[in-house]
Subunit: 267 residues, 3 copies
């Protein structure tokens, strides 16, 4: 049973302990992701060179891998870093951006899933579906428009890869393959800002760095990000000012606000 | 005869149809460009790996190539993508950032122009001039300070490469080599925000994805962006807040505002 | 004796002469750095391909090298550009981001220091310490918590590499190895925005492009950036809106404000 109280406790620890989050992420969102991690109290580092990722992952508290803008050299670095993080026992969060859109992305996401103990996969429905064996897709892509179907897919992937799967959308579905949680926070303006999904992934990294119950940490991170979106939308009604206000809310949100506004539903 | 009514019609379709715009663009502007495309209603994707650009271009409605931060691998991807887009018949918009400043940029821009059916070139006067044969430059660079001379250069390049050429500046000059249009929108604060030229190029991609009269679509996109700049400058007087407000206006501008404020002059 | 009057004079010249600053910098901060340089009145260019850096550095008024996201190809370009800048006699400012955190970064920073006449090194205490010979570190890293100890370290590095060293923090320490200056401007919200250190480095590049007394120019650039932070903090209380307001203040700050608020202490 995960509650807003859990989110409160984890956020407080993120702000106090300032975990170091190693991101190998895409060019588009690097700046915004780093700012979001700083705003939430964590300490971001971005590094991707194969000849330094081992050292960088070794000093970090979580590893975030995002395949939004791939290159062969980067894929090697992602695999090396995943191995180091697995050996060290820190959480690894994978964002399979665009899986399903190109073969390179789908295959790379799967390759990374086999290269270490991935703790959490976060994507939208079609990205996560692309990671499934074909037999999972009994109803096709359209079936994912329903939250229940998304949950079925998420569960299958979670069991397959022995990890937490989070499918984000109007309702976020988080599962470890048996227990499932829905998070009902967020705002539609978030879909008009590039990299909000990637930012959610990075925040999951920060929360998992603090609490090794990754199902709980993932749900709490998504509630936190969703509440920030709701608070931002009260002050900003267009995407430019909204994306700035969103950073402000990650920083300024009180623990009480988070506990009060988090809508975490234990299914 | 292109009018504000045309701009209105195209913007409405962009917002409804949400065309997918494949950008191979520079690191500096990736985030801002993606946010501008989202704000206007389009759907951006950034991908540059040679082993995925073919698939990515194949599912897109327009291709935007921007040479602002070059590397050899990226040049190959640009050429591959241009070939795919040409074969598929989707518009290709080229931004020859820094052509004339280094040999690599000038030669790369020319190489791309020969690698596919480029639909639109958008640059400032000196960048576009760098694409001309020397005999075009009868009056030298200084001559471009006059709009009439810029128009002559733009026409020569348009004829040479059989495409639309847009030279942006205080007055934007758009030509297909015979017909010429001037757009009188915009604000001087736009030159204090990095990547506004690149953003104009990306918006041209979105408009050309909707309307295959590329002369009209280019003029309308530049009017739309210029009106957004004018509206933003009413609320923000320094470049940080201006660049955020500019995104807001791309999103919030009504169709009536666009039609009313667009200053499109058919020469 | 460096004063706020000096800062005023240099800023005025930056705004008038608009020096071209060639940045080979990291992906995370490219956009923000470019916008900060534009806001201060300079003209930024980002270019890193080995086959164009020679030409780009040749037409620039200063070179800024930042190792925040390294790759082998980029290191080669940094070394080539440093050689060209040295030959041409323009200032070179090095930001050894993350030196000390990985071997690649520490070794690369040292390699660049040996590849040309580096004019200024700007980093935080631990980054600069990583450039020292071990014998400099008589008191270990913790000793750097005191400004006096930071000054000792900065002096040793400045003498070793015959350059200006700036260690930024709550109090900035700038030294040429004999004369030392403290700058007392800035605001704690700056540490919640990614790349403020990198931005300080870029602004030092712009100021050094104008005044070849690099000790003075560095102190003045840091005072200018710190005053902008103080002014921004009067209007914005969370990091998202603060980082935007910071750009606004770089642009809108009057020369009189800079002279009046600069807190430059000549030790």
């Amino acid at each position: 049973m995960v509650t807003g109280k859990d989110a409160r406790i984890i956020l407080e620890k993120v702000r106090t302990q300032k975990p170091l989050i190693h991101n190998i992420t895409n060019y588009v969102v690097m700046n915004y992701t780093a700012n979001a991690l700083l705003a939430c109290g964590a300490s971001p580092v971005m590094a991707h060179a194969y000849n330094e990722v081992t050292e960088m992952t070794s000093i970090s508290n979580a590893l975030v891998i995002n395949i939004g803008t791939l290159e062969n050299d980067w894929i090697n670095s992602m695999i090396i870093a995943a191995g180091v993080a697995t050996h060290k026992g820190i959480p690894i969060v994978l964002d399979p951006v665009g899986a399903g859109a190109t073969t390179l992305r789908t295959q790379t996401a799967k390759k990374i899933l086999h290269s270490g103990n991935i703790s959490v996969i976060r994507g939208n429905a079609s990205e996560v579906l692309a990671l499934a064996d074909t037999q999972v897709m009994t109803k096709g892509v359209d079936s994912l428009h329903s939250v229940d179907d998304a949950a079925d897919t998420a569960k299958a992937i979670a069991q397959k890869y022995q990890c937490i799967v989070a499918i984000t959308g109007p309702i976020d579905v988080i599962t470890d393959g048996s227990t499932t949680i829905h998070v009902h926070n967020g705002h539609k303006l978030m879909s008009y800002v590039t990299g909000t999904g990637c930012t959610a992934t990075a925040l999951i990294g920060a929360f998992c760095a603090i609490d090794n119950d990754y199902l709980k940490a993932t749900a709490c991170a998504l509630a936190y990000f969703g509440v920030a979106g709701e608070l931002a939308a009260k002050k900003a009604i267009a995407p430019g000012s909204f994306m700035i206000q969103l950073l402000d809310e990650l920083f300024a949100m009180t623990l009480t606000e988070l506990e009060q506004y988090a809508k975490i539903e234990n299914i």
